[in-house]
Amino acid sequence: MKEITELKFPENVRYAESHEWVKATGETAKLGITDYAQDQLGDIVFVELPDVGESFEKGAEFGTVESVKAVSELYMPVSGEIVAINDALEDAPELVNNTPFSDGWMIEIRLDNSSELDALLDQDAYLSTLKG
């Protein structure tokens, strides 16, 4: 595993304490897991995602990510309806390890309430939770 200083955390996304990131563009938002989360999990071998059209409350489990070490649940940092999923992960789950904030995105949602984003952490706040 890497030192926290070796991990990358973009400024233009919001973070959840459960290690998901959200990047909003107007009414919709893309989300995935952070560099820290993928590093902790190790080699990711499978990502199980929901169907387009399903709706989830904030905090609900929307899928699972499986690495050679463990299976972890994925939680919604904000409420919304699934409008797209990253099909590429089915054949190339390692995208989550390689580029967690870009090609390794998991789902795109229509935000129920964009003010929920304000409750999430910014880069600095997330980094300080990691450093404890």
Partner: protein, 442 residues
């Protein structure tokens, strides 16, 4: 297999190694009121010959072949078990080994499971088999839970012709959940009434058994074709997998999960157990499959080896989020069936299946000619239902006294089927046995 209890010297040495003075000191961390103070209230130990005598007496109270002619199957089948099977199976490497907690150390055990999985998947025509489960009933219940997980739906439709015991276990599994069981009735020909599926929406699974409890072959393809394009999973159960040596296997008919009892493949009936839960599915569902799975891999030098795959979904790692509470399997029974299947081979299984079918058809014809009714017209494999005249229970008792068990009375499972009996004929029943039964029935 050898039984060596610890000698006092062994115990003293072990206590010394751990660094305590006595057994009591070793158990000191267990609160005193949780420890038994007096001796267990057990009868005096028997000598070996007394024990043999006692067990013989117990056996004498049961109707066991070959002393009895047993025409009863109903989920447990008497097939001849090759002598070579018991010889191989009783090797201590297999008999005494426990579940591989450090799995890759146990390459022999893993390979045995791998071969079992391969043979099972081939027999059932499915893509992947797990390392086995407790029995057909628990396998079927796990299949229903798996369908619920995959479809994210809560209703399962189950044919009334699935083995009544399997349905009870399924009901027990689902009782604490909010999942619902819908029952599919049966038709006059002895197959499941599929028209009742119309109007059942949002089904997680359709569950039928083939051959079903009446011995009849279900029209699997009709269901497979219907569910193929839907989220509903098609689960095919079985209690007599030998039938697939003759009839089309579940995989070829569109099953998403095929699971059931493997006792008939080389495991003695043993008064009902231990049994073998065979469980197979398609690769696309493998991550939702219960139980464990052994895979073939290559080591750093490229040599063939075996590993436990998908262990991340198991209970010891994933706790309450595991795909099932079963982290173990019936390895020895699985191995018995693997040895059985490979001893017979594909052509042997076909020949044996045909023999079972032909013999049971012989008895069916003989009973018809003797004036008894065979109410369900659908093709059967090695068992079938016969309707006898009122008061047949007296005849049944008389035959039992004459050491003939004339099938299983169905009324306790199907109240509408008074005087209906389920009769089974395998290769172990001779033509003379069948002729005698018919003669005694007249």
């Amino acid at each position: 297999m050898r039984y060596f209890p610890h000698t006092p010297e062994d115990i003293t040495e072990m206590l010394k190694t751990v660094g305590v003075d006595s057994l009591d000191a070793l158990f000191d961390t267990i609160p005193a009121d949780c420890r038994r103070k007096d001796e267990l209230d057990l009868p005096q130990a028997l000598t070996e010959w007394e024990l043999n005598h006692h067990i013989d007496e117990l056996c004498g109270r049961m109707a066991v072949s070959p002393e009895y002619k047993v025409f009863m199957g109903a989920g447990s089948y008497e097939h001849y078990i090759p002598v070579s099977l018991n010889h191989l199976l009783s090797r201590s490497e297999f008999v005494t080994s426990y579940t591989p907690y450090q799995p890759e150390m146990s390459q022999g055990t893993l390979q045995a499971i791998f071969e079992y999985q391969t043979l099972t998947a081939r027999l059932l025509g499915m893509e992947v088999a797990n390392a086995s489960q407790y029995d057909g009933a628990s396998a079927l219940a796990e299949a229903a839970l798996m369908a619920v997980r995959i479809s994210r739906r809560k209703k399962v439709a189950v044919s009334r012709l699935v083995h009544p015991h399997y349905r009870r276990v399924l009901a027990t599994y689902l009782a604490p959940t909010d999942y619902e069981i819908l029952e599919l009735p049966y038709l006059p020909d002895g197959t499941t009434d599929l028209s009742s599926l119309n109007g059942m929406d949002e089904l997680a699974a359709v569950i039928v058994q083939s051959p079903n409890f009446f011995g009849c072959i279900e029209n699997l393809k009709t269901i497979g074709d219907k569910t193929r394009s839907e989220k509903t999973l098609f689960i095919v159960g079985f209690s007599e997998p030998l039938a697939y040596g003759m009839f089309k296997n579940p995989g070829s008919q569109g099953a998403d999960i095929a699971c059931g009892e493997g006792q008939s493949l080389g495991i003695p009936r043993s008064f009902g157990g231990p049994a073998l839960g065979m469980f197979t599915t398609l690769m696309k569902y493998v991550r939702n499959m219960p139980g464990r799975l052994v895979g073939q891999a290559a080591d750093v030098e490229g040599k063939r080896g075996f590993v436990l795959t998908l262990a991340t979904r198991e209970q010891h790692i994933r706790r309450e989020k595991a795909t099932s509470n079963i982290c173990t399997n019936h390895s020895l029974c699985a191995l018995a069936s693997a040895i059985y299947m490979s001893s017979l081979g594909g052509s042997g299984i076909k020949t044996l299946a045909r023999l079972n079918f032909d013999k049971s058809e012989y008895l069916k014809d003989a009973l018809r000619q003797a004036g008894f009714s065979v109410p369900f017209k659908q093709t059967t494999f090695n068992e079938f239902v016969v309707q006898f005249k009122d008061g047949f229970d007296k005849t049944y008792e008389r035959l039992t006294a004459e050491k003939i068990i004339a099938g299983l009375p169905l009324e306790c499972y199907y109240p509408e089927l008074a005087n209906h009996y389920l009769l089974c004929v395998t290769e172990t029943i001779s033509k003379q046995d069948m002729d005698l039964l018919v003669q005694k029935l007249k």
